[in-house]
């Protein structure tokens, strides 16, 4: 009897914990409400299955536990029952997978009007690069990195001269505008992770990765690194501020361009 009660208690207590727990996701600040919705669907379906299976086991133990003289029923298989269970399971799986793939299709296809913002990870610091007046990021190369040019921006690419460089500072984003986060690392794997944005992606040295979001809420958000990057991993924090348009423009005007940064360090320009 104790076994039955404890099994039933595990099922019921798990549901109560889910409903009453104070630990729930942070208020969303991006367009990925779809992801939250898919999680909710998955919670409903899996929660139902979990409770059903555990309570069924508890019932079996209650009803069929050994008593002297008992004998088990002999039934090697029941194809009809197995067929129906497999069919119902398949329907449940499709109900989770279909919305998941639908949302993933949105996730991988960046809207054409998205602005590019580059995030560069290194042990253990976040840097950012925004396109300048020409709206384009210049090319860059890990091999070109020097003390004066910490992101390895290509000095011979005129598109990059007006790029705005933020080393170790805050990143600001305007609210309501889609932005493609272009991700690079110059040493090991990192992962640009803002819990409120829901989206995240690894940053891999030697290649460029991306994800896109539309910020939907102004505020200051913490950037965490979500891929183990050495002993400094927990200290690799940054800040993203989502501004309204006016505040964003004010902030943008105060940032230095690549050309200004190189001039400040006294290195001569090579592009025309």
């Amino acid at each position: 009897m104790a076994v039955v009660l404890i099994l039933a208690f595990v099922a019921v207590a798990s549901v109560l914990f889910h409903l009453l727990s104070p630990w729930w996701w942070t208020p969303i600040a991006s367009n990925w409400q779809y992801i939250d919705n898919t999680i909710i669907i998955t919670f409903w379906i899996t929660g139902f299955v979990f409770v059903a299976v555990v309570l069924f086991v508890a019932y079996c133990v209650l009803r069929f536990r050994h008593k002297p003289g008992n004998r088990a029923h002999y039934e090697p298989e029941n194809r009809k029952l197995e067929f129906w269970l497999a069919t119902v399971t398949t329907i449940g799986v499709v109900a989770m997978l279909a919305p998941g793939l639908f949302v993933w299709d949105r996730f991988v296809n960046v809207p054409s009007d998205a602005t590019e913002v580059e995030v560069v990870g290194q042990q253990w610091l976040w840097s950012f690069r925004l396109p300048g007046a020409n709206g384009k990021l210049g090319t860059s190369e890990t091999r070109d990195i020097t003390a004066e040019n910490p992101l390895g921006v290509n000095k011979n690419d005129s598109a990059g001269l007006d790029d705005i460089i933020i080393q170790g500072g805050e990143l600001h984003l305007p609210i309501g505008k889609p932005v493609k986060m272009v991700l690079r690392s110059i040493d090991v794997l990192h992962d640009f992770y803002v819990p409120e944005f829901r989206a995240k992606m690894d940053m891999v040295p030697g290649m460029v990765t991306y994800f896109w979001i539309t910020p939907t809420r102004t505020g200051t958000f913490e950037v965490l690194c979500a891929e183990l990057c050495g002993v400094g991993h927990p200290q690799m924090r940054g800040t993203v501020v989502v501004d309204n348009e006016a505040d964003y423009q004010t902030w943008l005007q105060q940032q230095q361009t690549f050309t200004q940064m190189m001039a400040a360090s006294g290195e001569p320009q090579t592009a025309q």
Binding site: T42, N70, Y74, M203
Partner: protein, 592 residues
Amino acid sequence: MVNIPSSINDPIPAAEVEDVELYHPHSWWTTYVFSQDAKVIAIQYSLTAISIGLVALVLSWLMRLQLAFPGVFTFIDADRYYQFITMHGMIMVIYLLTALFLGGFGNYLIPLMLGARDMVFPYANMLSYWIYLLAVLVLVAGFFVPGGPTGAGWTLYPPQAVLSGTPGGQDWGIILMLSSLILFIIGFTMGGLNYVVTVLQGRARGMTLMRMPLTIWGIFTATVMALLAFPALFVASVMMLFDRVLGTSFFMPAIVEMGTQLQHGGGSPILFQHLFWFFGHPEVYIVALPAFGIVSDLISVHARKNIFGYRMMVWAIVIIGALSFVVWAHHMYVSGMNPNFGFFFATTTLIIAVPTAIKVYNWVLTLWRGDIHLTIPMLFALGFIVTFVNGGLTGLFLGNVVVDVPLSDTMFVVAHFHMVMGVAPIMVIFGAIYHWYPKITGRMLDETMGRIHFWVTFLGAYLIFFPMHYLGLLGAPRRYYELGESVVNPPSAHDLNIFITLMALTVGAAQVLFLFNAAWSLRRGKDAGGNPWRATTLEWQTPTTPPPHGNFGKELPVVYRWAYDYSVPGAPEDFIPQNEPDPENRSREHAS
């Protein structure tokens, strides 16, 4: 060597096959140390695996202490913390779970359950164990070299695994880890070939494949998978070792490390991840399939009922094994690989849920209308069902690519994989030990200690990992030495961390009781007799217990029926051993 009747309805030929010649030990050394008896090798494997597993248990305590009381235990600095989590993960997955299920249970049960005298290559089998032991020693050596063991995380992702920002990256740690893995794979391959050939060639007369107990199906399929999956880890380890020692660039692109341009260039960190997970995902099922098989038999024996849907269970094992080779990149949804892979891998991953769910249904339907004896093995089997269903269902979150995006690299992942491939298989391991200990030693484990051990372990482990999912849902990233002040670390989350740590210490302490029970019962346990559970399979029909070298005395058993003739209507007892003749063709397969 053995004549298998071409059809199950053919009469079984009389004993005319010559018996195999076994190597008979001549001294204490060849009987107990350099033994070629699979049963001795099984015990050697198991004791080694459990010993190193205890090291992993202590490491988990240390990391939990840091998470609950950051900064209080000053000797757990960031370097050590990462070394502890890395060694804990690698030991649990490879050196404990894989070695114990295949090297331990595989060696003990394959010959006995199939009615064979021994493995077909006893000498290679012995070598397999000694190379495994060497691999363990090389792994442990990491604790004693300058710089300590590697702290790269058990996934060993380059480039950080071989760079100076990671403990052991530019010292001995990573070299020893990779060398140990290479040795482990060499040793495993020797043992694994043995298990496969023995299952295919060494079965007793009448033991058709579809009469094998599910335990053997699980171990057999897992071994085939391991033989196909481990080579990927082998080449990845060799290449990374070359990157580290010889300065090659298999996984190393151009890198600026702390302001210095490194000599590497052109390599691909993602390539390592593909190789690692091509091994790593099948590895989950290499651990899970033996557990599936064993738990099926535990439920059947202790519910006195045939396993429900045997043929479906066999096919589910085989299909899960095959599918597990085409889902590896679901570990890499946010790795930066081409995101269009997500569509394919999410679909294959969720398809696996169907055969897996069928297995769960068949376990609970075996309980239905059974005659359930709440023995310790049955309790652990029930604990397995609860934890496996829980952990399996959270896999549907992480396998569904877009749901994985916010949850990946958070504590949700940690909670999921501990529940599904930590707690659940370990429930089966304990159930199996309580079940077969009487055969191995001739004595029963103590019942009262067993019950305490079960309840503390099952409820405690559930209380550790179930709430942990919600820390991940909140957004707490994994592999953080300390989270400090953060929106994802409110004071309530910190309280929860303290609770989890206290539970972890409790569950760990309960294992001391288990070890005590195992040692105490060796001498003081109740006499078990040959077949205390009244089971049908061949290992319980040996003439003496524990079985001698050669297992079955003068005559090998002949098999007449499947492994699940429990509570057959009209039979005098509620079980009929597999080697009992079936003159009236009453056994299930003859009827169908």
